[in-house]
Amino acid sequence: MSNVVALDHLFDARRLWRGQPQAHAPSRQPTGFPLLDAALPGGGWPEGVLSEVLLPLDGIGELGLLWPTLARLTQAGGRVALIAPPYLPFPAAWANAGVRLDRLQIVRAEPRDVPWATEQCLRSAACAAVLCWPHQADDRTLRRLQLAAETGQCLGIAMRPASVAVHASPAALRLVLEARPARLRVLKCRGGNPPAQPLPWPLPTGAPSEPVPDSPAATVADRA
């Protein structure tokens, strides 16, 4: 027994309200990739929150995703802290990507101290961006980092293994990089629906970063 009611009547009777799509303040943190910016609700990294970049493997261009942002922030005089990076950042490559090395600070920490150090840096408002590589982060830890990022109005990015994609996370933005085929998926973005289609990877930029001769990646970028 279905009761068909025209929506107009409900609207007129004020028993049903039409939701307004929430207008977002445009982000002041463009990612440096026009395609990715277009896919995100604020047109860039969400500000003052924690974002996650999930990686299945090392060495699939994950730093290339961050370098344009870090280059922009450090050239503006901002400080960037790397908390417990898994390898040594090779300075020549970072400098070639436009990152000012004198604004880069590396914090070595034991796995159990990584959340603490990250929280201190996020909360302090002394850093423009904080990148961390937490080994194991439970929901509570991530929530704390989220709050700290809001307090310090800081761009926080956690690099985590792709295996945690199945678990929910309080992060406002979750990106997954995939190696084979190379593509970038937006799992979750607060304030909008994630795009259904994965984005090509590497993303085309205004300026190519880290040119490698004869790389098949370059041809992918041309096609995109």
Partner: protein, 467 residues
């Protein structure tokens, strides 16, 4: 010139009380030979129980059942006197601790900096109360008069000679700082107040009481100017607390540590300096003391921050034996330059400057935990970086974002070479390295930077990731 005298009536007792865990319990200072102990000073709680200075210890025990007994240590009192002189040095360039249990500061020169005397007096009192020392303060045109008047009238302010002579005239003879036997003989002559003494013919008076007393009488009125020994602040800070019980956990050291770092901050503010490195020495009953160095990358002087950093280092210490004494030694005291701030800088709440954040991280994670990054001009990748300093130019070669600290064998079924070889050689005199570097795509889709011995194309060693 105007001299302020800060009289410290309970210097020895206050020095003990400010380090005592329970200053509100009855406590007495004793001295004298072992068989005849005499109370030298008592705190408020002991006074309420009926104890007073001068009682034999046996009598005191008969009056009051339980009170803490602390041995009076003159050397300790001298240390406190020095500490307060260092503190007072921030309020005036001429500070003297020549007279026992009092400090004399020439304050007129400091009025332009600290405001008029009432405001400055409030500052002095506020500091002394925070430091935990009872005090009486008087101001007079010369130090000797200031000292004598502080003894009879707390808060007296005299800036001119006429009221000074009037106030001195009111002063009882025994309170004028005269030699005791001279004061005694004057009293026996029936002279109660200084006005009567000053009224006597000078030559006759001099024959009776001697030149020393005459000198003191002239110094009080300012007729005779005798220079004082001025205090020179030492170039290092040391502070030590002995516990009369064994401390087994570092957590119990935090209370005295907070006091010590507060004292250090007060001392630094007096010198207008900072501290770059200090050492906490934990002394044990036997065996060598445990040293906890606290090193900072830039001079600091904020008491709260110094405490936080020292606490962070102390938390990492495993106590091998109970602690009997704690000592703080600061020898490196470079000038302190406050960080410049933008006036219109909009900063969120709870903002911490980077220097402070960095020290906080180092305190907990270790001294080497936070470092920068710079390019070093060297062909060998493992030596092409430094953790500080200026960067050389970056070569425009393909270089990986991540470098492995140690090369490891690249295990892959079918690596695809994307670029290379790039030969890296160093001389035979310098750790002979000859390698061919390739950019390799692994079967999983990663891009690796790997090398193999010159001329070969197998046995790749993974040295970096193009991330």
């Amino acid at each position: 010139m105007l001299w302020a005298c800060i009289l410290l009536p309970q210097l020895a007792l206050d020095g003990v009380l400010r380090r005592h865990a329970t200053p509100d319990e009855p406590l007495v200072l004793v001295d004298g030979p072992v068989q005849r102990r005499v109370l030298r000073a008592v705190n408020a709680a002991a006074k309420a129980q009926g104890l007073r200075a001068g009682l034999p210890l046996a009598t005191a025990q008969a009056i009051c059942a339980r009170f803490a007994v602390v041995e009076h240590d003159p050397a300790e009192t001298t240390r406190w006197h020095d500490f307060l002189a260092a503190w007072a040095y921030r309020y005036g360039a001429q500070v003297s601790r020549q007279m026992p249990a009092s400090l004399l500061i020439e304050v007129e020169a400091s009025f332009r900096l600290f405001g008029p005397w009432p405001r400055m007096e409030a500052l002095l009192r506020e500091d002394l109360t925070a430091l935990g020392f009872r005090h009486r303060i008087a101001l007079a045109p010369n130090p000797w008069a200031a000292r004598a008047l502080a003894g009879v009238h707390d808060g007296l302010v005299i800036t001119h000679d006429a009221p000074l002579n009037q106030a001195l005239g009111q002063l009882p003879v025994e309170r004028a700082g005269l030699p005791p036997e001279a004061a005694d003989s004057l009293r026996r002559m029936g002279l109660r107040r200084l006005a009567q003494v000053y009224a006597l013919p000078r030559a006759a008076l001099g024959r009776r009481v001697g030149t020393e007393t005459l000198g003191q009488l002239d110094r009080l009125t300012g007729a005779l100017a005798t220079p004082l020994d001025c205090y020179q602040p030492p170039d290092h800070f040391e502070s030590r607390i002995e516990f009369n019980y064994e401390v087994g956990a570092t957590g119990q050291l935090l209370f005295p540590l907070r006091r010590m770092t507060g004292d250090l901050a007060a001392y630094l503010a007096g010198r207008d300096g900072g501290v770059q490195r200090f050492v906490l020495r934990l002394e044990h009953e036997r065996g060598a003391a445990t040293e906890v160095p606290v090193g900072l990358l830039a001079p600091e002087r904020d008491g709260g921050m110094l405490f936080e950093l020292a606490r962070g280092r102390l938390d990492l210490v495993q106590l091998a034996a109970p602690v009997r004494a704690l000592q703080l030694i600061a020898r490196e005291l470079p000038p302190f330059v406050p960080a410049g701030r933008d006036l219109f800088d909009v900063r969120p709440q709870q903002a911490v400057p980077w220097e402070q954040l960095r020290e906080r991280l180092r305190a907990r994670l270790g001294d080497e935990a936070v470092h920068g990054l710079s390019i070093h001009a060297d062909h060998r990748p493992e030596r092409a970086w430094r953790d500080h300093g200026e960067s050389a130019g970056a070569p425009p070669l393909p270089r990986p974002g991540w470098l492995l600290p140690q090369p490891i064998p690249l295990r892959d079924r079918e690596p695809r070479i994307l670029a290379g070889p790039e030969r890296v050689e160093s001389g035979w005199w310098d750790g002979d390295v000859r390698r061919d570097y390739y950019v390799i795509e692994t079967s999983a889709g990663q891009r690796a930077w790997a090398y193999c011995p010159v001329g070969e194309r197998e046995g790749f060693m993974l040295h970096g990731w193009f991330a």
